[in-house]
Structures are given as C-alpha cells and as structure tokens.
C-alpha cells in the first residue's frame, strides 16, 4: 500500500491567515425574535422592547450566538454558503477537498458590545489553523476559522472561532 499522502495542499495551506472579503448585514428585530424562539430562550430582552428599555441595555439585544445566523443570512453573489452550511463563514478558496462529510467541531465566542436591531454588522473571516488526522476509518481535516465582527461605528462587537471537521471515509476492504 502506498504511503498516505497529505490531503492538505500547499494551496490550502497558503490560505491560513488570509482575510476574506468583508460581509455586512443588517440586524433585524424580527430575525432576533425568530432566533430566540428557535433556541427556546424566553428572555424578554430579545423580544420585548418595553421590558428591554428599562434594563441596563436600554433596548432589545441579540442573543450571544445570533452571529451564527448572520453568516448564512447573507449568501452574496457567487457564495456557496447555502450549499455548504458547515461552520462559521469562511472563504471557499481555502475549503477542504470534495468528497468529505462536514461536521461542526465547536464554537467559541468573545463579546465586546451588545448587538441591537438596526445595527449593521461587518464580518471578516480568516482560516487560522489547518490540521489533518489519519485514523483507521479514514482521514479528517480540521479547519479553525476566526471571524471578527464590527458594527456601523467601527466598534469591535465580537470575535468568533469555529472548528469544522471534514471526514473522508476509507472504503471498506
């Protein structure tokens, strides 16, 4: 049997650290409510303006992982996000080879400012790490992406890190 070749090409490796094009999206109150309902979080800070006005936030805010919804909401021209909904927004050019099965490996967040309806959030993503594991069942490519979110005032609102796993099953003998 031939020695296993790395599935990570030089081209893929060259993507590490390269920022993708900025993507902007408007935060909508209805989308926040829809998202809060979907995660079954009844906190009125996400839906009830009268309640939220009398809190330290002074108005409705988005739940912490709402950014997760914004990446998909914006499939711009030529975007393949809708077809490959795995992990946080990432540049397709640095994507894994075809034929694998995608799995979400995890997410981390750091929050700096609340996000409110009407905010215009801009996200910039880059691949920060690329690893490969060879197991009995096949190979796995592990991609870690960092996304920086800023608002319309240029303020840093959050950072997110996502790990996406792509499994390539070896054919059973």
């Amino acid at each position: 049997m031939a020695q296993t070749e790395s599935m990570i090409s030089e081209e893929m490796r060259a993507e590490i650290g390269v920022e993708g094009a900025p993507r902007s999206f408007v935060i909508e109150a209805g989308h926040i409510r829809h998202f809060a309902t979907a995660i079954e979080d009844a906190n009125p800070i996400y839906a009830d303006e009268a309640y939220a006005r009398n809190t330290p936030y002074g108005g409705v805010i988005a739940p912490p992982t709402f950014f997760r919804a914004t990446g998909y909401a914006l499939p711009g021209p030529g975007s393949r996000r809708a077809a490959a909904p795995q992990g946080p927004p990432a540049r397709q050019a640095g994507g894994p080879p075809a034929g694998g099965t995608g799995l979400d490996g995890g997410s981390e967040w750091e929050f700096f400012k609340p996000v409110r309806p009407g905010d215009v959030i801009t996200a910039v993503s880059k691949l920060v790490d690329l690893q490969e594991r060879q197991g009995r069942a096949g190979a796995m490519i592990i991609r870690r992406t960092e996304t920086v979110y800023t608002n319309q005032l240029g303020e840093l609102v959050a950072k997110g890190w996502g790990t996406s796993l792509t499994q390539y099953r070896r054919e059973q003998a």
Binding site: H34, D41, Y51, P64, R68, G106, S107, E108
Partner: protein
C-alpha cells in the same frame, strides 16, 4: 424556566467549585427544524432521517450550534441583567438526539478581579440522559460586585 428579570447574582455570592443553576432543554425534531430556519443551517443531518443515516449517523442529530446557544442561555440566565458573558465556547464531542433531555451545566473554576472587573471562570457542558458530557466548554463572565457598588455609593 426562570422568571425575568432573573434574580441578580453578585460576585460575592460565588465560590470556586460551586455549581450554577442547571438549565434543562428538550429539543424535539421541530426544534431542530426551527433552528435550521432561524440560523440558516440547513444541513440535512438535522432533519432528514434517511439522509442522516446515509451519512452513517444513527438518526437526525442536534445542531452543535444549537447546543452552543443553549449554553449561552445557561450563562445569560445566570449572570442576569447586570452581569456580562465575556467569552465562552464548547466543543461538540458527542452527538445528541432530539427528544432527549439535554442538561446545560456549569461549575465555577476560578473567581478573580482583573482590570477593575469582577470575573468568574467556569467549566460548562451539555450532558445527555446517560450523564455523558457531550459538549464540554468554558466560560468567563463578569458579575456586579456588592463591594464595588457600595464603594461607588460612598465615593
């Protein structure tokens, strides 16, 4: 489900090793469909059993990101209106299935002051009905301090 606003926890109330109030979620297949719609994550493994099995999964599975959202609620419910979730994250190590209870839990690992803030580090996780930690994670939150509030009032 807590009442809102939740009772405010203060930094002085917290001790290392204590567990924070558990949040038990019960995602159904409908929850996964709702989350697919709200998040835009339409991966078929979350709502189409035939296609999920074709990918050698036992059935449809709960979105990792939905578990992450549940852990977010565990934290926001706990820190209340005057606390802030600074950072948190989790790894999706084990699959979870709809119609199972999914417990979100957290343990305080460290309590400290830094840069004028009153911070608490936690180990957080989701737990399946067999007691396995399916999404181990971490968090750092800032809490209001009675001591600091009293000092502000005197100052």
């Amino acid at each position: 489900m807590p009442d809102y606003p939740p009772k405010q926890v203060y930094w002085e109330d917290v001790s290392e090793g204590m567990e924070i109030p558990k949040l038990v979620k019960h995602p159904t297949p409908q929850s996964l469909v709702r989350y697919a719609g709200a998040s835009g994550d339409f991966n078929v493994i979350h709502y189409n059993e035939t296609l999920a099995k074709a990918q050698r999964l036992p059935g449809i599975i709960v979105h990792g990101a939905l578990k992450n959202a549940y852990l977010g609620q565990l934290l926001t419910d706990w820190v209340g209106l005057h606390g802030r979730v600074r950072k948190y994250g989790a790894q999706y190590r084990g699959m979870d299935f709809p119609d199972d209870d999914l417990a979100c839990r957290g343990l305080v690992t460290r309590k400290y002051e830094e840069g004028g803030e009153f911070l608490v580090d936690l180990e957080i996780w989701t737990e399946n009905p067999s007691g396995e930690k399916t999404s181990p994670g971490f968090a750092t939150v800032a809490l209001p301090s009675r001591k600091a509030l009293a000092a502000q009032l005197q100052g």
